[in-house]
């Protein structure tokens, strides 16, 4: 009998497992399941980007790089961020290459949080935010976002959630799982509050290129924010490069320096071939990215229309590739809805509660999959709803 659990630290032992893992275990054993649970692009990385990685290997470029990433990688990131988001970052001191945004956020939290510090974040949100804060012996404080607001962060709700000891605000627009975005006016109000309360802001903008409505605005570009914002970005979503595990953080030098310490002891550097592929994506990937974005937008329009036709009220996500329909009309809670749908019709959607308590009453449906699958899922969901007791 394995009794090694006694060695596991208390704060890890008590950390809940990601709700997504349980679903993955069931769906992966199911033969003809239609999964709307996929949180990554269904496109293969554009060939010219893969080719850059192949060329890197062929040239025998298989070494470590500078902890921060190659000079070329950082210079290219600096240009891309300035061109597309506004702020200019010094490649030598203000940019750090990471293993995706996941690592970037993790090392940022570890670099800036003291035990007991408080971190504000908006929910529903990506599954790792609150656990990563807990792993730093800090306290995660959720701010609820709501469907009526298209899941944008209401500055008034931010103010209400604030309490003494709050040090960091984590933002993610467009948001996984809701597709929520934040317009300039909202961001300005949030920025004003962050300055007033002297908050550091971590802005995870991994889905920013996949903005379908309006222009994406980075909070780092607003007056007074560059010096208190760490801009986190990567290649997984816009360039379909999840498996490359490559991302970056841009921010004020002292914070980046702190992150660098954690990064150099824990990770050393991002893989060199991924850095070289990323350079190609930044230089020449725009057309492929726009092509994929158009596809997502078309599929979004279909899946949202379908959910609404089926009586599952669904707002139009303004970015990312997730629909987040309200399933309360069925009388079921998120988990029961997702479990029964999977059992009865073999369609996988992720219960909204996997993304925090504010996700109750919703389920996430990824439209990063083919029309055929979305269509088939729609038919099956219709049958599932027909089989539910009339309300």
């Amino acid at each position: 009998m394995d009794s090694s659990g006694r060695f596991v630290a208390r704060h890890v032992a008590t950390l809940p497992k990601s709700g997504i893992r349980d679903f993955f275990a069931i769906v992966s054993k199911m033969k003809d399941a239609v999964s709307l649970g996929i949180g990554e692009p269904d496109f293969v990385t554009p060939y010219h980007i893969r080719e850059a990685a192949i060329a890197s290997l062929e040239k025998g470029r298989t070494s470590y790089t500078d902890n921060r990433g190659t000079q070329q990688f950082r210079e290219e990131v600096s240009r891309y961020v300035a061109r597309n988001y506004g702020p200019e970052y010094d490649p030598d001191t203000e940019i750090l290459g990471t293993i995706g945004v996941s690592e970037a956020l993790d090392i940022l939290l570890r670099a800036v949080l003291n035990p007991g510090d408080k971190v504000l974040y908006h929910e529903p949100c990506y599954v790792s935010y609150a656990p990563s804060v807990t792993l730093c012996h800090a306290e995660a404080i959720p701010i609820r976002t709501v469907s009526a607001d298209q899941f944008a962060l209401d500055p008034a709700a931010l103010r209400a959630a604030w309490q003494p000891g709050c040090k960091l605000l984590v933002l993610n627009f467009p948001t996984n799982p809701t597709g929520g975005t934040a317009d300039r006016a909202k961001l300005e109000a949030i920025a004003k509050f962050a300055i007033e309360k002297d908050l550091l802001v971590a802005s995870d903008e991994i889905y920013s290129e996949l903005t379908f409505e309006g222009d994406h605005v980075s909070i780092a570009s607003l007056p007074g924010m560059r010096e208190r914002t760490v801009f986190l970005h990567g290649f997984s979503k816009a360039f379909a490069m999840t498996g490359f595990r490559i991302g970056y953080a841009c921010g004020p030098a002292a914070v980046i320096d702190g992150m660098l310490k954690v990064h150099q002891y824990g990770i050393m550097c991002a893989p060199i071939m991924s850095q070289e592929a990323a350079v190609e994506a930044l230089r020449n990937g725009r057309d492929s990215m726009l092509h994929m974005r158009d596809k997502y937008r078309e599929r979004r329009d279909f899946i949202v229309r379908r959910f609404n036709e089926l009586g599952l009220k669904c707002h139009l996500p303004r970015g990312a590739f997730y629909a987040f329909p309200d399933i309360t009309s069925t009388g079921l809670d998120s988990m029961t809805f997702a479990q029964k749908l999977l059992e009865q019709q073999k369609v996988a959607m992720v219960p909204g509660t996997a993304f925090g308590a504010a996700g109750a009453g919703f389920c996430r449906a990824s439209f990063s999959t083919s029309y055929e699958r979305i269509h088939e899922a729609g038919e099956r969901i219709a049958r599932f709803l027909d089989g539910l007791p009339r309300r």
Binding site: S18, F24, V27, F302, A348, Y371, E372, H375
Partner: protein, 160 residues
């Protein structure tokens, strides 16, 4: 591009009712759209793309390069149209470069292809020479990768 055509070209095996639902049109509207595209000569037809490995195992496919003389036989078009009429011919193109027409043919076996070349093609007035190449193995067909080592095979079906 026409939205119905775009969906078909994306290579998803959707029927007209599905296309209609996706585009927010009725199936009948999609049928009308397809009929119009056919009438305009935009859409010549729709066929499934089969894995060559699953096609009849004795069937062979060859590409034939043909050099032609155009004087006194009505020019390229006349010869190309005559060749295109053979049922063995899958496709026929006028080419730039070292030969004039490129023809793809399928037949039950190698001898039938050989017979087609010397009994049919070579006898057409204006055909000066042919060079026949047999297909051995397909790796990609009509935009589809044939290899079983498919991309995304290990992609988790649920992920955060």
């Amino acid at each position: 591009m026409n939205s119905v055509l775009k969906l078909i070209l994306d290579g998803e095996a959707l029927d007209t009712a599905q296309i209609g639902r996706i585009l927010g049109l009725g199936a009948e509207a999609v049928d009308r759209e397809l009929a119009a595209l056919r009438q305009q000569g935009v859409l010549l037809g729709m066929r499934p793309v089969l894995n060559p490995g699953f096609e009849s195992e004795h069937r062979v496919r060859a590409v034939i390069e043909i050099k032609v003389r155009t004087e006194g036989v009505g020019g390229f078009d006349a010869i190309a149209e005559r060749i295109s009429a053979f049922e063995q011919v899958e496709s026929c193109y006028l080419m730039s470069g070292g030969y004039d027409l490129l023809v793809v043919v399928t037949a039950d076996n190698l001898y039938k292809v050989a017979g087609f070349v010397h009994e049919r093609l070579a006898r057409i007035d204006g055909v000066q020479g042919t060079s026949t190449h047999f297909f051995l193995r397909a790796y990609k067909k009509d935009g589809f990768i044939v290899s079983s080592d498919a991309a995304g095979r290990d992609r988790p079906s649920v992920s955060p």
